[in-house]
């Protein structure tokens, strides 16, 4: 019941930003346009349900599809004990999306991780550097087209 309510509210509030919604028990998903991300996220955080917690932020590479990448955000409402998932598709030609660091501080490192492993550019991120891989590492290793056997050692390896 409640799930329907929040999804309906989102659809009414952002008719242009919402692409589709689906709800199965305990699993509410909103697929949005990436341009609307920041205002939808701000509404969810400060709105009635108070999704004050960003649980996770990650990316999926659907190689061969267009748009190729999909950002996935998991939100949690402490006051209502509910979760919500936001998805936004990113085309390979334009890998830019708004950063959520103004809303949730922990988005900073999560976005650095996604930038490091997938190469998504977060606009408005205060310090977008690699998080896991080292300086001088070329490419983004979690993309499906990163060569499986490609190694980039920092020191000379013995055969």
């Amino acid at each position: 019941m409640e799930e329907k309510a929040i999804l309906d509210e989102l659809r009414q509030k952002f008719p242009a930003g919402i692409r589709e919604t689906s709800a199965s028990p305990g699993d509410e998903v909103v697929v949005i346009e990436k341009a609307a991300l920041l205002e939808i996220a701000a509404f969810l955080r400060d709105g009635r349900d108070k999704f004050t917690m960003l649980l996770d932020l990650t990316c999926v590479d659907y190689a061969g599809e267009e748009p190729r990448f999909e950002m996935v955000y998991h939100l949690f409402s402490l006051s209502r004990n509910r979760r919500l998932r936001i998805k936004a598709r990113l085309g390979e030609g334009d890998l830019r999306i708004a950063s959520l660091t103004p809303l949730w501080k922990n988005a900073s490192w999560l976005e650095r991780e996604v930038y490091d492993l997938f190469g998504v550019q977060f606009e408005g991120h205060p310090d977008l550097r690699r998080l896991f891989m080292y300086d001088g590492f070329e490419g983004h290793p979690l993309r499906k087209d990163y060569p499986l056997r490609r190694r980039q050692p920092l020191i000379r390896l013995k055969e």
């Binding site: 896991f132 290793p141 490609r150 920092l154 020191i155 390896l157 013995k158």
Partner: protein, 167 residues
């Protein structure tokens, strides 16, 4: 190794070989270890080091957290390419004589992590004396590996001559 043992030394070298053997005996029972622990194998290392399995029974009880004071480098866990220079530095900082043990499948060969991040066996970076297999190895396996290393040290040609440095 057994071949080395059976080989008769030239007559004049009797004393030096005996001294070599004495050095080996002394060194194999006073191994100071530097545990380079990066992953879950560390739990088995702790288990082997603590009272229940008690690695101290075999003369390797001293854990030194400075490579300068250690002569046995235990590489326990996955080594990534990002970490490889650190391991190399630690190895270089250790003083001779020194021995390296690859502890667990990841250190031996990279294990299941055949990907962009992980070094496929630490012998690509530093020389290794003993490989201990297992994911993670049982403490008994660790002790067995230690005994293997001790046997190696006992029959090694020790560089004890103070006048000349090996290579």
């Amino acid at each position: 190794m057994t071949e080395v043992r059976k080989k008769r030394p030239p007559a004049g070298q009797f004393i030096t070989t005996q001294f070599n053997s004495l050095l080996g005996w002394g060194r194999k029972f006073s191994l100071f270890q530097y545990p380079f622990i990066t992953a879950c194998c560390g739990m088995e290392y702790m288990s082997a080091a603590c009272a229940h399995f008690d690695i101290d029974r075999f003369g390797a009880g001293w854990t030194r957290f400075s490579p300068r004071q250690a002569d046995m480098l235990l590489v326990v866990g996955t080594i990534t390419h990002k970490e490889a220079p650190v391991l190399r530095t630690v190895y270089d900082q250790m003083t001779e004589p020194k021995w390296v043990v690859a502890f667990g499948t990841c250190a031996v060969s990279g294990g299941i992590y055949d990907n962009y991040a992980v070094v496929q066996g630490i012998d690509q970076i530093i020389p290794v004396d003993v490989y201990i297999p297992g994911c993670p190895p049982r403490p008994e396996t660790v002790l067995d590996g230690l005994l293997k290393l001790q046997e190696k040290i006992q029959h090694q040609d020790h560089d004890w001559r103070w006048k000349k440095k090996r290579s």
